[in-house]
């Protein structure tokens, strides 16, 4: 019997099986940010176990609230900073170098096919785009990961999603994943990995694959996984060229993590996305999705472009393409947060920042920003935000606020019109 990608990773990383069904895995990466890690640090200190298992496999960033907004967030940042110094965590990213974790760590080449990755953050599933098993965990799992380099899982079953056909112009990975979540429901993939296959994924960039995998958790999934291929190798090449004699050799090595043809799936879902139109959420759950055509005209107070879902360079290009030569509606405020300093610089060099500023957008530093209602860009009661993020829970962006999730192109079109708008209609 063949194996899925997750099964392959589980069997090669198995440290222990203390009880049937419980697998303790060795970890290749333990990723940390300043919201969920400080409590783990404090607990380790309190237990007299202020150690780390390996300072090269741990990576850390201050990203959620940065620069700090008050004394409490300043303390969180300080705790992470002091700990990183104390343990000589070389890959620690502070102001001037920091960006949204799930954009920054892949960009640095830290995630490779076949890796096991945990982080105290539910959107860790993003890193599965590289053919890794990457799971969000709570602070206790993170703490044990930091201390011992292991994490316990029930071996997840895998749902295979085959995406066939081809996407129409103006339809993006975000629309695909919103649609898929609408089909699966918010707990349709609980305790499952979602493996994405098919010609639509094959031609997607790593940026788009990360958007796809980022939202696996919104269907309850442990991880979203794409199959490593030449696109993966090309992305990683600057970081791995010392390890392999050619890209073909790297591809051969990484292909071992691809699912076997006779792998066993919990479920196989086929979606032909040729007719798919842009999608938007309408309620307080990410599976409340509709074609944008049914949401057109909904009044919006703020547009937010950025986050670990859609704050990468391709996303900014797609938004700027729509925005170019237009102004933000005067009933609305636009905010854009490039996800990392590198993305910010690329956007500057390409003139995208100019487009955003000419249109009347506020451009912030790389950070999670408005995404989770604890930093900047918080909504007032009764306001609505068109956002390229991943979560629309009640209160997510501020008490009494409504969040409509959509692609960067739809968000840009909405910014111009002041109401939810199909970007394909603008041109």
């Amino acid at each position: 019997m063949g194996q899925t990608t997750a099964e392959k990773i589980f069997s090669t990383h198995l440290r222990d099986e203390p009880f049937p069904g419980t697998k303790v895995l060795d970890l290749d990466r333990v990723l940390c940010h300043e919201i969920t890690t400080p409590v783990a640090i404090a607990d380790l200190e309190w237990r007299g176990k202020d150690r780390v298992f390996d300072n090269t496999r741990i990576k850390a960033v201050i990203d959620h609230v940065t620069p700090s907004k008050d004394s409490k967030t300043a303390l969180q940042a300080k705790m992470l900073r002091d700990w990183a110094r104390r343990h000589d965590i070389k890959d620690f990213f502070d102001i001037g170098h920091n960006g949204v974790c799930h954009a920054l760590f892949p960009e640095k080449g830290y995630i490779r096919p076949g890796f096991t990755v945990i982080m105290g953050d539910s959107h860790t599933c993003t890193h599965g785009a590289f053919g890794a098993f990457a799971a969000g965990v709570g602070t206790t799992d993170l703490e044990v990961g930091m201390l011992k380099g292991v994490c316990a899982f029930r071996e997840p079953k895998t749902i295979r999603v085959n995406l066939t056909g081809s996407l129409q112009p103006g339809v993006f990975a975000k629309d695909v994943i919103l649609f898929v979540i609408g089909q699966l429901g918010v707990n349709g993939a609980t305790d499952r990995v979602i493996e994405f296959h098919g010609p639509v994924v094959d031609v997607m960039s790593m940026d788009a694959r990360m958007t796809l995998c980022n939202m696996a958790i919104e269907a309850g999934g442990t991880c979203g996984i794409c199959q490593p291929d030449m696109v993966t190798v090309d992305y990683l090449w600057p970081f791995i060229k010392g390890e392999f004699t050619s890209k073909e050799v790297a591809l051969a090595e990484y292909s071992q993590w691809c699912a076997d043809a006779d792998a066993n799936y919990d479920k196989v879902l086929d979606f032909d996305v040729t007719e798919l139109v842009p999608h938007v959420t309408y309620g307080y759950k990410p599976d409340c999705v509709k074609p944008v055509t049914e949401m057109t005209g909904t009044k919006i107070d703020q547009v937010y472009i950025g986050t670990c879902t859609n704050g990468r360079i391709e996303d900014l290009r797609q938004a700027a393409e729509v925005l170019k030569g237009h102004k933000v509606a005067d009933t609305l405020r636009g905010i854009v947060s490039p996800a990392t300093p590198k993305i910010f610089q690329e956007a500057l060099a390409e003139g995208l920042i100019q487009v955003f500023m000419d249109a009347g957008f506020c451009v912030t530093n790389p950070t999670c920003g408005a995404c989770l209602g604890m930093s900047n860009g918080v909504l007032a009661e009764g306001e609505a935000c068109a956002s390229t993020s991943n979560r629309n829970f009640n209160g997510r962006m501020g008490k009494g606020g409504m969040v409509h999730l959509m692609s960067p192109a739809t968000a840009a079109a909405t910014a111009i019109a002041g109401v939810i708008t199909d970007a394909r209609e603008l041109k």
Partner: protein
């Protein structure tokens, strides 16, 4: 530290209650568990539910529906229960991370089928909300009393999760084993 599991129950009759509703993100700036105490379930909108009411204050057990604890991975969700002396949740199903976080803290996330939760919800109505729950982890039973009658159910818990509860959580367990 071993926990006490039974006691008065509070009923949250809704599916998909997420961790933003259990503890809003704006409180994630706290670096101690105790500081979370006043904000338990603050953003939960549910008819008849008052996050500042006596019923929640007295509750030691939460009984609820499907996919409880979905969304953000924040362990602040189990912690806000822990500091309010709620060490047991009984639900039809859980989001993976929340469920694991409960056991990792040495607390209990019990799963019962819909028919059992329905029976518990009926008991709640008959008893005007005054339901007491006893949990026996060794026997794996839940006994709920109210309105002069009781309902009892068996539950499954994996040997690993049981070991975590007995060890007082995953840090203790992992440190002893790895």
């Amino acid at each position: 530290m071993k926990k006490v599991f039974g006691g008065p129950a509070i009923f949250l009759d809704r599916v998909d209650i997420n961790t933003d509703e259990i503890i809003p993100a704006k409180y994630l700036t706290e670096v101690t568990k105790e500081a979370l105490k006043p904000y338990c379930l603050e953003d939960l909108k549910l008819e008849g539910f008052d996050p500042h009411g006596e019923r929640l204050k007295n509750a030691r057990v939460i009984i609820t529906r499907e996919n409880f604890g979905c969304g953000s991975s924040r362990e602040h969700a189990p912690w806000v229960f822990e500091v309010n002396d709620i060490h047991t949740v009984i639900a039809e199903s859980y989001a993976r991370i929340f469920r694991q976080n409960m056991f990792n803290c040495g607390m209990l996330a019990i799963e019962l089928p819909k028919s059992d939760i329905d029976a518990l919800m009926t008991l709640e109505k008959e008893a005007n909300g005054d339901v007491e729950v006893d949990i026996d982890l060794q026997e794996q039973t839940v006994v709920a009393r109210g309105n002069d009658r009781q309902e009892s159910f068996n539950f499954d818990v994996s040997p690993f999760d049981k070991a975590l509860v007995e060890a007082g959580g995953w840090v203790e367990y992992a440190d002893a084993h790895y």
